[in-house]
Every structure is written in structure tokens, then in C-alpha cells.
Amino acid sequence: MKILKLDDSDLKTLLARWYETRDLFSPVEKNGMAGWKRIEPLEFVEPAKGVPKTSLKTFFFPQPETLLEYSARPGDEGAYVPRPVKEKARERIILGVRPCDARSVLLNSLPFADDPYFKAKKDTTLIVGFTCKQPCSTCFCSWAGGSPMDTEGMDIAMTRVEGGYLADILTKKGEGLVDHLLDNREASPEEKEQLKTLREQAQGGTGSEGGPAEILKKKNLMDLYNAPFWQGLADSCINCGACTFLCPTCYCFDIQDETIKGKGRRIRYWDSCMFPLFTQHASGHNPRSQKVQRVRNRFMHKLKYFPERFGPLSCVGCGRCIRECPVNIDIREVMRDLLSIP
């Protein structure tokens, strides 16, 4: 597809235009970058660096999400018969998305492939990504299979250059967003060459042959499972859910019914494999009753079970868990330790 050269005023014009028929969202500054917020077009500023604390998954896998509704008035026609909720069809555009977060949407769509709720949200959401110029020291997207210049999962990928942005239009949906600019803003051959060089300079994705996903897939499951270092992680871990809830690719959930004053809903909400209740049977038996088992499960799921089932790691290398873990459990160390097992 096309590559456009936009200056800052072009971007402003576009945002104003998009805003007419769509909702705009972007990272918001609050206690550092806390999360995502609906914005007015003029409010948008490209985040200086890094990603917000909360991940992009909240747009596709909201906390909580109503799956079904039911009437809880015994007299009603169809009382206690759940029916599907109505989804909003209004399109939304998420701005300022980093390559790691954009990639997380693709990774999550693997387990959610047949999920109508996830799919409905994906269909109505456009991602305008901004490639990374300054990775943080906790970033490791290249190692996890991506790259700071990666465009996977974006509809438009913006790269900051002298005098504005090079906008790589990647999808039909993305093309729809800029159609009136397509002819007169096309980037010059030199600019296209510049973008190509920037991409090549960025450390390439290691998703293929030599990447951790491929190496770990080939290792014996029980060798990794029985590795000695898990106990050390469990020693530090307090078994909270900060890592799982901030992680863009942790997607475990629980389902529960809530009934209030005649109205009922069946919701799914984020759950965490760190919590003892996660696996506890009604009988009281708990297959993962020990902290070490739960810590291990989180990493084994991301680094071994998920790749075996779907191919890539269930990790985009955004570094959120590393930055926010209260006891500094570092997934990069876990990856290194797992890779070092013969």
C-alpha cells in the first residue's frame, strides 16, 4: 500500500476529520502514563516514549464485559433466559499505539479466534500506531518476536521524521482513513528509502528460526517444568495479579452472573493464574495450590504452552511486568533461564 508524508497540520486535519464519525482514544498522562482515554482531536500528543501502564487489551477484552443479559423478574416473559448483548457499532480509532501493543492484539486473536465479542471489537477498531524511536531499558520486543519499527497489527503506522510523519498505510481500513490525501501526500522515493533504512536498522524480529519461541518449542516440556529456578521466583513472588492484569497478552478470564433488582448479566472479567482460587475445585481440591506452581504456570503458558499451540510467544516484550512487579520478577531472566536448559 501507500506511504504518505504528513506534516503536523495534516495530522491535526486528519484527527478532526476522524473525530466526526468515530471515537478517538490515546494514552493519557496521569501518575506517569496510566492508561487510555477518550480524547478530543486537539488533545492528542505523541507520547514521548514507552507505553501506558495499562495495556491495549482493555479495548478488545474489556474488564468487565457483559456477555449475556437476562431478566431476573420471575413474572417476565423469558425470565432467566440469557440473551446476547447488543454491541456498539461505532468505530473507534486508537492513536499512539506502540508496535508491541499492536502486536498483542494479533497474538490475542489467536485464542479468541472464535470469540464473537473479541471479533466484534476488532472489526470496529482501527489502530494508528507510532513506531518506537527510543526503546526503554525494560523493552525487549525484538527478543519476543517483534521490533520497535514493527507494523504488525496496525492499520496505519506513523514514523516520526524530520518535518512530520511517514504514514505507512497498511490495511484497507487504514486507506479509508486517509483516502482524500492519498494522491497529494505520497512520500518521495527518498523518504520511502529512509523508512526502509530505519526498519532495517531496528533490530529485526527474532520470531523465526533462531527466536526464543522456536527454541523453547523444541525443548522437552517436563525439563522446563522441573527446572530448579522456579522456587527462587516463588520465594520473591507475592502472588498478586499486577503482572497478569497489566500484561497485554494475558487473557485468562472468569465468568460470573450478577443480578441486581430484577436485572441480570453474565460478565466475563479478568482473572489471574496467580490467584489460588483460579484452579480450586468446588470440592476444595486445588491442582495448583502452591505458589511455585502458579508462578511457573504463568511463565510456562507464555513461553512454552502458548507457542506449542499457536506458534509465537504469548509476550510482546513491552516490559510492563518488569517495571511494575512489586518484587522485580523479570520475565527476561526467566526466558534466559529456560533457554539455558539443555
Binding site: 496521569k30 501518575n31 506517569g32 496510566a34 492508561g35 514521548a48 516514549k49 501502564k53 495499562t54 474488564q63 468487565p64 526503554c136 531499558s137 525494560t138 527462587g232 520465594d235 520473591s236 507475592i238 502472588n239 498478586c240 495479579g241 499486577a242 497478569t244 492484569f245 497489566l246 472468569d254 460470573q256 450478577e258 460478565i267 472479567y269 479478568w270 482473572d271 489471574s272 490467584f275 482460587l277 505458589k291 518488569i322 517495571r323 511494575e324 512487579c325 512489586p326 518484587v327 522485580n328 520478577i329 523479570d330 527476561r332 531472566e333
Partner: protein, 350 residues
Amino acid sequence: METLFSQATEAIKREARALLESGEVAAFLGFAKGSIPTVTRPFVARSPEETDKLIWNGLCVMNLANYLPGLLKSLEPARRPGEPPPEGPLPKVGVIATGCWSRNMVIQIQENQLIRERLVILGIDSPGMIDRRKLESLAGGKEIQAIEEAEKKVVISGKGFRLETARQEVLRDNCLTCTHPSPVILDKKIGPTMPERHVHEPFARIEEIERMDADSRWAWFQKEIECCIRCYACRNACPLCYCPTCFVDDSHPQWVGKSVDPVDTAIFHILRAYHCAGRCTDCGACESACPMGIKMRLFTRKLQKDCLELFASEPGLDINSPLPLTTYGPEDPERFIINGSKQQGTQGGK
């Protein structure tokens, strides 16, 4: 440069190594360096060699008492539920304790979660611990790549910046109002004794909130917990929270919904704080653990203030004085009881 911290680190390493080498303890609980400069890692050394990893600095903010019951249990020989422990002494753990952590250990002993004899406590006076969020806001969005700490100042640096600040400016809020930096139970003292601290208006922020009207207080409360993600890091970092099934996990009845509904989140924070009433030592682990920067310590601080004012109680200072909610006094204040004071005269004989 020899600092307070490097001296303490060396002393901790030395003592821990000796304890493990002599076999007096089966494990030593302390801190190791983290992979990022703003966070340290609670760490269990199980061999003399591993004690080389131990460190001590102002970012050791997790309350180690939190780990003790679980760690001690994991060191006991496996046995079936209900089976009595084996004859003879059970394995011991060595641990570092500052004022608040040691008070939490006292409370755990009072609440039968710990056995004093199984602990070897290296007491260390807390110099006041650093709030990583304050450092981050000082850095103004730039990434902190190194922290240098001295007795009175802290220097942070990263790509293209180097900032120096008074230590006092970046201390955690709880450390700024702390009046008990010295451990109350210990087996060996490490480092110098800190001078006694007098805090002017220790409950200033609480009083400020109390002066607001109900609407403003509600608005403040809502705002404070708005970005809670219900990860329970505050609960799990807390040495007071050891219920086998937390009230948030009760299903029958379900006291609190599990998602991020504002009412459920509010009830979670109210009840979490309330369960710490009369037990909280203001160690600040909850706030330090919170990934979202919520100041939930203010809720427990209010309870702390009330315990002090109503029952003259400060928990964990004395192993022989009961926790305030496990006891009562005939003359406990009851102004809040609607017909309380009116009836009080008639109660004399009883």
C-alpha cells in the same frame, strides 16, 4: 565511598553467611538487587554462597514479615493436614527487620502465625525508605538508570540527566511520619541506632481530609481508587493479610464483585483497610506494591489515628499488650452510640 548502606549490606551478608554456615538457620530472608534500579527483590538465601547476593538500600520496601509464615511452613517436613509437627525444633529462618517489620512480626506472633523461636532477627534501624514514584516524578518521564544513595541525599541519573535531591524529599509518605524506626524485637543489631524521631503533625493529611465535607471526601475517595485494577498487590504485600480465603474470594455470600465496578472496588478498599484496623504498622508495603500508584495507605492511616485517639493503642510495640480489637475497656468511647451516653449512668452497678 563507604555509606550507611554499604556498611549495612556487608554486615548483613556476614551475619547471614554465618547463620547459614553454622546451620542455625535453614534460610535467610533479605533483599537482592533488582533488574531495574527502582525496585529490589525480596530474596531467600538457602546456602552460604547465596548470601553474596544480599543487599541493603533505601528501596528495600517490601515488608519481609509478609513472607515469614509461608517460608517457615515450606521448611517444615511435609505432613498431612491435622498431623502434629515432628518432635524437636523446627527449622529456623534468619530475617532482616526494621521498626515496622518487627512490629508486624510481633503481631504475627500474637496472632499465632509465627513462632518467635523460629526466627533469628537481624534488627536494623530504618533510615526511611524511598518512594520510587517520587523518584519517577522527579525524573519527569525520563528513565532512571542509576540511583546513588547517601545518608542525606539521593542522586538519580539516566540518559542525558543527573539529578540530586535531599533524601527527605523522596522518602515514602509513611516513612516521613514514622516515629518507630527501630526494631522492637531482634536478636542482633546491625548498623547505628537512629536518633529518636519527633514528627510534627503525624496525621496532617488525615486531618486535612477530615476537615472536608462528606461530598468532597467521597469525591476524593472515588478519585483515589479510580484506577485500581484489582490486582490485589496491596493485599498480598501486606503481612496482616493471611486469611486462607480472603473475603474477596468468598462466593457464598459474595461480599464483593470481582471486576472493576466502582462500588466493588470501593468496598474492596474499605474492607481491606478495615481488616487491618488496629493491626496496621504503617509499613507502606501496600502503597509501594501498587502498580497504579494508589494511596490506599490513607485509609489504614485514618484507622491508625482513630486507634490511637480512641483506644490509645499502637499495635506491635509490645508483645504483651493485646491488639485493640481483641480487647475492650469498660469506658471505651461511645459518643457515636445514639442512646449510649444517656444510659451510661444506669450501667454503674454492672
